[in-house]
Amino acid sequence: MCLGIPGEILEVRDDNGVRVGKVRFAGITREVCLEYVPEAMPGEFVVVHVGFAISRIDAEEAARAYRLLEELGQTAELTADVPESDHDP
């Protein structure tokens, strides 16, 4: 939870006055709060901590960082709340 996980913004919308969006992390897509990166747009990459984008990052860096986090076993939070049967068929 301390290392942010980079992902790509797919879409941005307003939810009760909060800026949220869909962010894709490799094969997983999650709803993420974009309130702290007001200028980030679809197609851009952001670093996400527990469902909140904290900073922007470039695509190449994002890909490298994601791969390392996977190797370190630090991407588990993305699927932690999904019951066993729902992921990894």
Partner: protein
């Protein structure tokens, strides 16, 4: 493409290691603060690539590990109350309290749910108006923006049945506590890159000046860590003590202002007890007065808690950089990730878990292991 990239990284890593070798003239002890950095160091064997004169010790930067036993027992007491839905990050489920963990309580019928984001807990509260939904808000400055937003939203939308049990910890006061502690060996710090992406590094400047200690804000990739180590060693060798930023691609001096502003609206700084370390003044966030209606600590009165810590666990010494996991007699024997005695073995970011995951228990007792007897140096 991937091969090229890795090849290039290996070349850079070799060049950095060589430069570190040339820069160092005497022994130095460096601490990386962040648990993610610890994992990267152990995973890629960075500590073993360095000249023997440089020793890396692992810091307290795992929020799961340092959440106090009292707080965990309090969480367990609240989770068992009738009508409560207790929500938490997945990392906290298996952390041992005085009697068992959250997963055990769930097995006994408590409504414990893992959420990805604290906003999910607010949503659960809105969907279950008759229940009391409590979120276990732990973490360093990296999770504070998320927890702050959940409290802000709950108050704004009038979600009265949502509350948070807050046990936030802060990095700068823990660095100060390590430097002040008798027997401290740490001479320079690799600062936590992702924490500083949120908070910036102004606070670290006064720390560095006051204690005359180099602090290099560093990323978590192997090349980042090696470069951070090189920058710290150069400062030490030159007798300098400054804050330097290795992780410029993610960290600015100011940090993320929008996130910081909301943190200071919702939280205030207070004293905090750290597991294994003890109380550190002004080292945590607690819920500000305006948000008291969402403060689980106030809403759920929990009786005096009698805590029990396994006596053989030395995680407190490990978290302060005084010992390493291999120095613990239980490590890899009575204490494993399947059967953890202490929090540093449970969490994905804990030093004991990192050492275990990458096979370092095989080294215990090996005279070539540099961590053995390190305390005597």
């Amino acid at each position: 493409m991937k091969y090229l990239d890795e090849y290039r990284n290996r070349e850079i890593a070799a060049a950095l290691t060589e430069q570190i070798g040339r820069a160092v003239t005497r022994p130095w002890v460096l601490m990386e603060v962040c648990g993610g950095q610890t994992h990267s160091i152990v995973r890629y064997g960075i500590d073993r690539m360095l000249p023997p004169a440089i020793e890396l010790v692992h810091g307290p930067g795992c929020p799961v590990c340092v959440t106090s036993l009292e707080m965990i027992d309090r969480a367990h007491a609240i989770a068992q109350r009738p009508g409560v839905i207790f929500t938490s990050f997945g990392d906290m489920l298996r952390v041992p309290g005085s009697c068992g963990d959250l997963l055990t309580l769930k097995g006994r019928g408590a409504d414990v749910r893992v959420v990805y984001s604290p906003l999910d807990a607010v949503r659960i509260a809105r969907e279950n108006p008759a229940r009391k939904v409590v979120f276990f808000g732990i973490g360093f400055e990296t999770t504070a923006p998320a927890n702050a937003m959940a409290l802000f939203q709950a108050r704004k939308l009038g979600v009265k049945n949502f509350s948070m049990l807050v046990s936030h910890v802060l990095v700068p006061p823990s660095i100060a506590a390590i430097l002040q502690a008798p027997g401290n060996r740490v001479q320079a710090f690799l600062g936590p890159g992702h924490v500083c992406a949120v908070m910036g590094y102004r606070e670290y400047e006064s720390l560095s000046a006051h204690y005359r200690v180099p602090i290099v804000i560093t990323g978590f990739e192997p090349v980042d860590l090696l470069e951070g180590i090189l920058m710290a060693v150069r400062q030490l060798e030159a007798g300098r003590a400054q804050v330097e930023n290795q992780y410029v691609r993610a960290v600015t001096r100011e940090g993320n202002c929008a996130a910081r502003n909301l943190i200071f609206e919702v939280f205030e700084v207070g004293d905090r007890k750290w597991r294994g370390v003890g109380a550190i003044p002004k080292s945590g966030y607690r819920i500000a007065y305006e948000y008291r209606d969402h403060d689980a600590e106030r809403l759920f009165e929990v009786d005096e808690i009698d805590t029990h810590e396994p006596p053989e666990c030395i995680s407190g010494l490990i978290l302060r950089g005084l010992k390493k996991p291999c120095d613990c007699p239980a490590f890899g024997k009575r204490c494993t990730p399947q059967n953890p005695l202490g929090a540093t073995m449970v969490s994905a970011e804990g030093a004991c878990a990192a050492y275990y995951q990458y096979g370092r228990y095989l080294d215990t007792g090996n005279p070539g292991d540099r961590s053995a007897g390190a305390g005597a140096r």
